[in-house]
Symmetry: C5
Subunit: 261 residues, 5 copies
């Protein structure tokens, strides 16, 4: 569970509501279901024009990714790759086949299977990078839906406000109704800003961050697979892959591996 | 028919009109043909200065692309390419010639014909990528027209509003007319925001998406054609091309091909 | 004559003036020479600080490019290059020299002359691409002047409006003068928006488009010159160059060349 | 101590407060803890949704980097590398091992140790650049937190202002309270602009600058290590590395080294 | 002396002041030293946080570059390089040494000295391009200070306006003081817009332009030095370097060189 995402959302709403209380205004002033429908519905419609339907309908499934922490255990991955590399040196590339079924990650399994099959290195590289490219495109398509939403929500808030202002202006009669009309008109802009800045924009940012983590793990895999195939010295393989970690993570792996040996 | 595009547009308009009703204002308040002419006409004029006339006149033809779903059947394309690859291995590259006429896609046909003619691989690559580049430029020119429109429409809305405000300010006499003048002035901004955000910007986005799909299909073709020419193992060709698909699509192809064999 | 540029400008102004009439306000309300001097003069001054003087003084000469259509006759160029290629194959590269003087385009003439002189291909490539780079830089410098203008004009409009507002605010006395002061203040913003969006921004866009067309023609020339030098098969040369055309243009060339042969 | 960062912040606040005094308004007018909580708290919540929690919690530790000057002594580094290069030429690469323990920088030590171990140059390059990439990613992730904050702070200021305006509009009754409500509403926007422009945005900019300095030092190291390995002439190594310095810094090294020899 | 920069600045100020006169308001209305301190001082503080102190303190020295025209005499440079190339062909590379001391440009001298010393071409290339990179970074760091200023100045104008509005709103009592408070509040925004758009942004743009000119001259030098080393035909060297000039400049060199021979 990503406490940052959940805590941030709850915290944001609590702050806004607390701030309403403190301003002394009645809370009911800020509740207008019609405005909410206008902002959320309208921006969702624009989203459906801008993106393939399937992708927009899946948006909640994608958004959930931002709610769960996925720990990648890069350290464990590296030691797995190093031990594969040692085995390959001792017993030959074919000996790796037995261990493949135990791998959870399909991408790594595929890469190593290509190695075991004796595929040409440049071909392995092209197959794996091609797949990375496709993952990148799928991820950026998903994150673009949130980015689009973060743009359309304030715009539909503004459209709603304009609409309210026009209605209000046409009846400038008594001053009391002017204030209420104006207050109502501003609510859509208010909703639009909240939807965009507590929901769409930060979630898009976290999805991109998650994507970065996943890509780094995949790159460690590609680098490791190619190193294993080219028969690099296992110590060299480790050196190469440790460069992907931060100094702190690196220390952990080193102390661990020195204990293990 | 792309239900997202059509549904999104209809939904957006319905929401805006429903919201007008609910605000209790008469619908007539929001109808001002002169303002519509100003916003749409003015931005269309700017569009004609900014882009070649022919391209602007074709804008509706291009826009229609966003209304129709084009399914690319990547899975079928890959199995076609794999079977070409098998045939080439068994019977030689010349044997491919007979099957070329049945191909619907001219780009693929051209690529394979160059292979059958024994053209140099680097030349094939340059011819095909050159053509991809040209397609990319034509598409981005078309999508730029919508992008420009999405920028000019709100600007002409603002110009109209300024014009209305100036007229209104000069006659600040009675308050009632002030309100009406103001309401009228705001209508152009309102129209500009709607034109841009329910029409131009989302359609531009969907056109780009369609372009991405088409380019991916074309890249599968290029990759396939070059693999066939270099005499790659058909299983390897399939592996290479399947990397373009998402895991879900890949499963479909695999189960299918295992049934077919 | 580029009817789009001229028609768009005239259309834009007609629409704005018609819209003034329709709003019932007197046209005189929108005419304020001092404001025009402020917006156009002020932004022109900023332009002179931001860009070399010579380039700013030449701006009208550059702008005129947007008024004239230049048809590049890519189809004719390609058949010229193909016939050079045929001649080179039959009679050798030296035989091309006689036809060079008839070429109108200096860039193409230079490229072919380098070929006739037996210059090294990598050197030809570097000379021609170097020249393309320089053309690109000159063009983008010219188009940047319009881009800058499109940014400074609205800003000076806003500066003028602020200035007017400050003067008006200091004399909030009688309401009638407030309205007039406000109307006058807004006129600079109004002018700035019109100058930028009917003149600077769309012209910049069309200049870039023209640049794209010219670059494509030059790239066809480079590709053709290098193909001729390397002694490619004329049919292959044609195939390569046709990839630069859109499918419609390609059909025209093909039908023509098949008649001609 | 980076006097620019500290002086700039203090100076900025002093100016703003002095300006409050001079405007004759009571200072208390600008103090509203609830608004501060709304702007800072709200934007911090959005930050936690947008970025990994750990990174947001560390933000102050990262921000402190902007407070301290780190002098990189590029001149000393270059002379160290040149003397290593001389030693390697005289006594062979293995002779470098003794001096490695005295190096403070772990990155340089690692690079030279790989050289001493006789690692393949391309492998050294890949290991070192890989590590540079990872440093780059960690730094840009840290600076992105400040960038995000610089965007969210004004937005939450605006959300607070909208909220205040809505409350105020609903009670347009007596004019006095209108003014106070409006003043209060504007305070969140005021706070948001200050937090973003005296704190977040400039600090992000200085962090990026520091990153640039560090990267340049690391690039000098990589270049030096590879030059030492390839056995370049020490005078050539110096020439190569001096190119990284500005003319002024270069003069210093040259005069120094000529004294030293 | 760059008349564009100076004329543009003077012209801009004259226009603004003339426009103040014409609006009939007293000039004193626009003079408020405290506001000027707030806008200029505040943005300068933010600048000191955002950039290294030394660079901000040097800003005026850098800004002066925009005031002086530096003519690069590219034509003369090219004929110098061509005559070096002729000499090298006739008398060998070592013969160039005598002419080096007469060269004013240190960069060119360094490049040719490396050639005379018989340095490896790839090494020369790396040394020279490395130095170009460093020049580029120093220049862009300097121009970024103006860019930052151009962003901070309007922001501090806005902060000042918000501050003034808050003070004014809290005393909505008599209408006359409202107007004056409002006028005063707007002055900081007015100053910010002027500082940014007559000073910072256009100067940044001109600095970038100057940088482009200098880089082109340096690139001609690199290209020339490498051509001389590889022993290219002097006519070819000229052809290569002339590609950097515009057609007009090229004509001048050609007519000159044909007279000179």
């Amino acid at each position: 569970m990503d406490l940052g995402t959940i805590g941030g959302m709850i915290g944001g709403f609590v702050l806004i509501i607390a701030s309403m209380f403190m301003s002394g205004a009645s809370l009911g002033l800020y509740v207008d279901p019609a405005s909410a429908v206008m902002v959320i519905g309208g921006s969702y419609c624009a989203l459906m024009i801008a993106n393939p339907v399937q992708r927009v309908l899946n948006i909640m499934k994608v958004g959930k990714i931002a709610l769960y922490l996925k720990s990648y255990e890069k350290e464990k991955l590296i030691s797995t790759l190093v031990s594969f590399s040692e085995q390959a040196r001792r017993e030959g590339l074919l000996a790796l086949e037995d261990g493949l079924d135990e791998l959870e990650d399909k991408f790594l399994e595929k890469g190593l299977r290509l190695v075991v099959d004796g595929t040409d290195p440049s071909l392995i590289k092209s197959v794996l990078y091609n797949e990375l490219n496709q993952i990148e495109q799928r991820h950026s398509a998903a994150s673009k839906v949130f980015e689009d939403w973060g743009k359309f929500a304030p715009v539909f808030g503004m459209i709603g406000t304009l609409q309210g202002l026009i209605a209000m202006m046409a009846n400038l009669g008594d001053q009391a109704s002017v204030g209420k009309g104006m207050a109502l008109a501003l609510i859509t802009t208010f909703y639009g800003a909240i939807v965009a800045n507590i929901f769409c924009i930060p979630i898009k940012s976290k999805l991109d961050d998650r994507h970065g983590d996943e890509m780094m793990v995949k790159e460690i895999m590609v680098e490791g697979v190619l190193s294993i195939q080219s028969g690099d010295n296992p110590r060299m393989v480790e050196e190469k892959l440790l460069a992907f970690l931060s100094p702190a993570e690196r220390e952990m792996v080193k102390s661990e591996s020195s204990t293990g040996e």
